[in-house]
Symmetry: C2
Subunit: 225 residues, 2 copies
DNA sequence: GACTGAACGTACCATTTCGTACATTGTTAA
DNA sequence: TTAACAATGTACGAAATGGTACGTTCAGTC
């Protein structure tokens, strides 16, 4: 999350000391992430977070002022972590069809591997995005996502394999929807339709469906081969 | 929600009476639906539900035992209401292409018009579908949805306008994903990408995208006209 | 070595919140 | 009419919960 890793690792630069505030802060944030993503803002308990932390309740208020502020920091940290992972993806050297297909698969898998993040976003939506609205940080983080997709799409249109007239933002919406739902509604969907959605073979099926669906939507008929 | 309508309407059959338990029950359920869908299971307050009801807190416990049981009844009532609305849709007399397109548009609009239901499902997923699992009622309600889609799909395959090999359940998953996300993530998506997703013209765009996307995915190339 | 501010522990307080005890009124069947 | 039971109002209890007062220890500075 921050500079020093999770446990009481040796302080980066200066001489060692017993107090390790950065590590304490990071530890609180890690525990808070688990608790909030599991139980929501109102469901999570400060006392329980305190218990699961190496620190005490006093420290939570010392570093994060109050419960809502802690929640906001949790949300910001989650977005930061996720957007950081997304920069790993390098699409520039790939042909448009390959690049888009890869982008979709990456998004799908990425969401699947980060249920905590998805749940925090769900919870934030339950709160009408009220906390996200307070964060300039998160707003600024997300421009890049659309840019990468816009670039791939523009290249595809130019080379004739993607059809014209699509808005990258709306395209991103479609990809997000399919990838997000896979995590967000896994429990109800599995239970209602008696279908082990989380099973690897079904996850693979869904990933293929989603990718295929997006590709069919974007590419021209000529590109159908 | 139940037989008698919301306010103190005349009791259906027998002679009139001052006590109107069915109406009280329905009123509590209606208020609870608003409160739970707005604030979640842990966020909703029994005292607040009681205040907003014509009845008192005592009545809530009289009819619904405890908070979790009230929540479960709320969830069940929501599913019942929604599945009831869905039966309005009559697809049998339509050609497969028309029927599927109509089904998708209906699902999209239906979700958009029932945000309370969507939010309850989100909340239930936050709880890992733990309450839904307790309800035999909800399980039984949902078979029909897949059946209707399976029928349309089978007719489409037979008439050559739909390609073979798709699973109706997975198809339903894709349609649900796109329709659900439109409501569930409206707040965060709008805020992050500075896009008024709820605006009528954008809702229309998304409905068209979603419908078009599903149709392109299902139909054969020959059906492209 | 004394001083200062940051980092931290313990105990506690005020409210909130779920749930219930108890008393009362309405309704129906005999 | 009245016994019996369903429906409802009022007041309260006990635990949980967010937040704080107050005191102590650590680490760098003069």
């Amino acid at each position: 999350m921050t500079a020093t890793s999770s446990t009481s690792s040796p302080p980066t630069a200066r001489r060692r000391r017993k107090n390790d505030p950065e590590s304490v802060r990071a530890d609180i944030l890690a525990v808070a992430t688990r608790e909030f993503s599991e139980k929501g803002l109102s469901g999570a308990r400060i006392d329980e977070i305190a218990e699961k932390t190496r620190a005490s309740k006093r420290m939570i208020y010392y570093y994060f002022r109050d419960k809502e502020s802690l929640y906001l920091h949790t949300l910001e940290a989650a977005y930061q972590k996720v957007r950081l992972q997304e920069t790993e993806l390098e699409l520039d050297h790939l042909a448009p069809l390959e690049a888009l297909s890869r982008l979709v698969r990456f998004t799908f898998c990425h969401h699947a591997k980060n249920p905590d993040f998805i749940r925090l976003v769900m919870i934030e939506n339950i709160h009408h995005g009220r906390f996200l609205a307070q964060s300039e940080l998160i707003q600024s983080l997300n421009a890049g996502v659309i840019d990468a997709l816009a670039d791939v799409y523009a290249r595809g249109v130019e080379s004739g394999c993607f059809r014209e007239g699509l808005d990258p933002r709306e395209l991103h919406w479609l990809i997000s929807a399919l990838s997000f739902f896979n995590v967000s509604n896994q429990h109800t969907f599995s239970r209602i339709f008696d279908w082990k959605q989380a099973a690897p073979e079904n996850q693979q099926k869904l990933e293929d469906h989603v990718t295929d669906m997006v590709m069919r939507y974007v590419r021209t008929d000529e590109a159908l081969r």
